[in-house]
């Protein structure tokens, strides 16, 4: 059994809340409250949840773009948060990020060539000639023509910009890519193009992904394992087909049945979930989901359920599945 590429343990992160219209202290946002998971080499790991669940925060914490309050991230057994500036710089070459918004992820004042070659120059990865060759190679790899290097981002469509963003993530030859909703801002047919591209890249380069998304269909297509998040915690984790075909946690069940499926006969199964997503400012006591949970029990209000490893590769945090001694 190979060692995991990435091990995330008990991440906690809070933010001071943005104040209201007239200023003043508005409390703290509990973005992450104990998040743990691990990713194997070459594995596509999905992180799903709705807005406010903390999945984007978790993704950025992994890359140390956000400093968590506590917890650890081990990348190839190296402690990411304990790395000094020099080691961090070297680590950064091995893990990269792809963003959601193709219109904000590229500097409008720089040509594509400049954007892609800059990381290589900063890390001194070759002579200008080698860098130019690498540039052409990576552009070809993401399906962009070589002459794109002289153009500016505004000359490209959303899908093309997303390809360029992916190229930028590949330029330093990372082993892990955190993809934060990489296809959510794209049209349906472009989504498919980008997903096929990412899958090809994953296979050829044996890349690991932390694939953040709210779209279960996309996650099912791309990921092998998935963790479902709600209000800063992982509520269920396991292999994708098992989690989506037979969800254990009531929230996963609700999420799954609320996800529309392009099949008119599947209409009837849409289960309504009453109530709003609770605020991360004031998470409900005990299990955060209890106010909306159709199967809530008295204990759910009192204590947060511990993690139960239901099978070797599947776990859930729910009082319906108490840990057996």
């Amino acid at each position: 059994m190979t060692a995991p590429l990435l091990e995330v343990s008990h991440l906690v992160k809070t933010f001071p809340a943005r104040s209201g219209l007239l200023g003043g202290d508005a409390g703290t946002v509990h973005a992450l409250s104990d998040v743990s998971f691990s990713v194997a080499p070459g594995e596509a790991f999905g992180l799903v949840g709705e807005s406010g669940c903390g999945k984007s925060t978790a993704g950025r914490a992994i890359l140390r773009l956000i400093e968590p309050d506590s917890g650890s991230v081990l990348f190839k057994q190296k402690d990411v948060f304990a790395a000094d500036a020099r080691r961090m710089r070297a680590l950064r070459r091995e893990m990269q990020i792809v963003f959601q918004d193709p219109y904000s992820s590229l500097n409008p004042r720089r040509t594509i060539g400049q954007t892609l070659s800059e990381p290589m120059r900063v890390h001194r990865l070759g002579t200008p000639k080698e860098i130019r060759a690498k540039l052409r190679a990576v552009l070809a790899e993401v399906g962009m023509p070589a002459d794109a290097a002289e153009k500016y981002p505004h000359e490209f469509s959303g899908g093309q910009r997303q390809r360029i963003g992916i190229a930028r993530a590949l330029v330093l030859e990372p082993e892990l890519i955190v993809a934060d909703e990489p296809v959510s801002a794209l049209d349906v047919s472009i989504q498919a193009q980008i997903l096929v591209l990412l899958r090809g890249l994953q296979r050829r380069r044996n890349l690991s992904f932390v694939f953040i998304s709210h779209d279960l269909g996309v996650v099912r297509h791309f990921c092998r394992t998935v963790a479902v998040m709600y209000l800063g915690r992982v509520v269920e984790r396991g292999p994708v087909p098992a989690i989506f075909d037979d969800p254990l946690h009531p929230y996963t069940r609700a999420l799954r049945s609320a996800s529309p499926v392009p099949d008119p006969k599947a209409k009837v199964i849409m289960m309504k979930l009453e109530g709003e997503v609770a605020s991360a400012l004031a998470p409900p006591s005990g299990c955060h989901f209890h106010p909306r949970c159709p199967r809530a029990m008295p204990i759910c209000k009192e204590a947060y359920p511990g993690w139960t490893q239901v099978t070797a590769d599947r776990g859930v945090a729910c009082h319906l599945f108490p840990a057996t001694a």
């Binding site: 709705e50 049209d187 096929v196 269909g217 996650v219 989506f244 996800s259 499926v261 979930l273 709003e276």
Partner: protein, 331 residues
């Protein structure tokens, strides 16, 4: 039982002026919406579905856009010919619209109760107190929790899903015959979307109104639509009852679209993305607009195919030489 359609759109063409020349954003769009029917208008960005809705409501920005030709018949009256005063009386009254972005479609400096009541007072002869009472009833009806207490709250104090409910309350306030919903749930989380869609279905069943639901999400279409119209590059390319569309899609674009969607209920097969891009509005081909990307393309596709009903199913129309069952075309 009134079986006349709620709305008839007849060869609607809307143009925009780009760099001094007029280009058609939607061309000859025609469809009918039955009295209690939900018609889904589906397509990707740029296909013209939103422009169609704006054209129906006569909300096309006048600076650069115009309705070039066509009719929109609501109860026999052609909305395209109405003047502004008559239009204002109709909008919000007989025909209402729900927009996509819940954060910008409500006035941020007015309390939500006021905004709902305002709609009522504009279109009906209710007094201020009566309108207020009715507005409160509407808010409770769309299941805003603690509606009485929150009647005077401002939009920013509500979540996205709640704001969308307020919009629905406003749209339904005057019991319109038909409601246009332009991507009303696209910006919402999945579980909230399910709530809002369920609410819309309930309200529709109660009031018997017709609904045009615009979206790019085929899963949502499958859940709520009775009939579907698929748009591509400003044309309607296929119309069919919902089950027929998903089981037997005829237009190559519809087929391709359905095979390129990753599904949560099936294991990952290989996605088949559609190669190429939509042609830009200023450089639209004269013939079939999908021809460049179509695997079934024949010579005839250089001429624009008409939207025709299939011989086997009159309710299923398709705009394609190859698939329309024309004699002499290959299947």
């Amino acid at each position: 039982m009134n079986s006349a359609p709620a709305l008839v759109v007849d060869r609607l063409t809307t143009e925009f002026r780009i760099d001094g020349r007029w280009h058609a954003a939607i061309r000859d769009v025609s469809f009918t919406v039955g009295r209690h029917e939900t018609l889904a208008l589906v397509g990707e960005s740029g296909c013209g579905k939103s422009i169609t809705a704006l054209s129906i409501m006569r909300l096309v920005p006048r600076a650069n856009g115009r309705i070039a030709s066509g009719r929109v018949l609501l109860d026999g009256r052609d909305l395209v010919q109405l003047d502004e005063a008559e239009l204002e009386a109709t909008r919000g009254g007989a025909i209402a619209m729900i927009f996509q972005e819940p954060m910008t479609s409500l006035n941020p400096v007015l309390p939500i109760g006021f905004q709902v009541a305002e709609t009522l007072r504009y279109h009906t002869k209710l007094s201020a107190a009566e309108a207020r009472a009715k507005a409160l009833a509407l808010l409770e009806h769309v299941k805003i929790p603690s509606a009485r207490r929150r009647f005077d709250d401002y939009p920013h104090q509500f979540s996205g899903g709640m704001r969308q409910r307020v919009m629905i309350a406003m749209a339904l306030a005057c019991k319109p015959q038909i409601v246009l919903a332009d991507e009303p749930t696209t910006a919402l989380d999945v579980t909230i979307q399910a709530q809002v869609l369920a609410l819309l279905a309930e309200l529709k069943a109660e009031t018997g109104m017709a609904l045009i639901f615009i979206t790019h999400n085929l899963g949502v279409v499958a859940s709520i639509a009775d009939r579907v119209a698929v748009m591509y590059a400003g044309d309607i390319v296929e119309t069919a009852p919902v089950t027929t569309l998903f089981e037997r899609p005829m237009h190559p674009y519809t087929e391709a679209l359905l095979s390129s969607i990753p599904r949560v209920d099936r294991d990952a097969g290989d996605l088949k993305p559609i190669a190429g891009q939509v042609p830009p509005i200023t450089a639209m081909p004269a013939g079939c607009r999908y021809a460049d990307r179509c695997p079934l393309r024949i010579e005839r596709c250089a001429t624009r195919p008409p939207l025709v009903a299939l011989p086997s199913d009159p309710r299923h129309e398709v705009r394609c030489w190859v698939r329309a069952g024309e004699p002499g075309a290959s299947a």
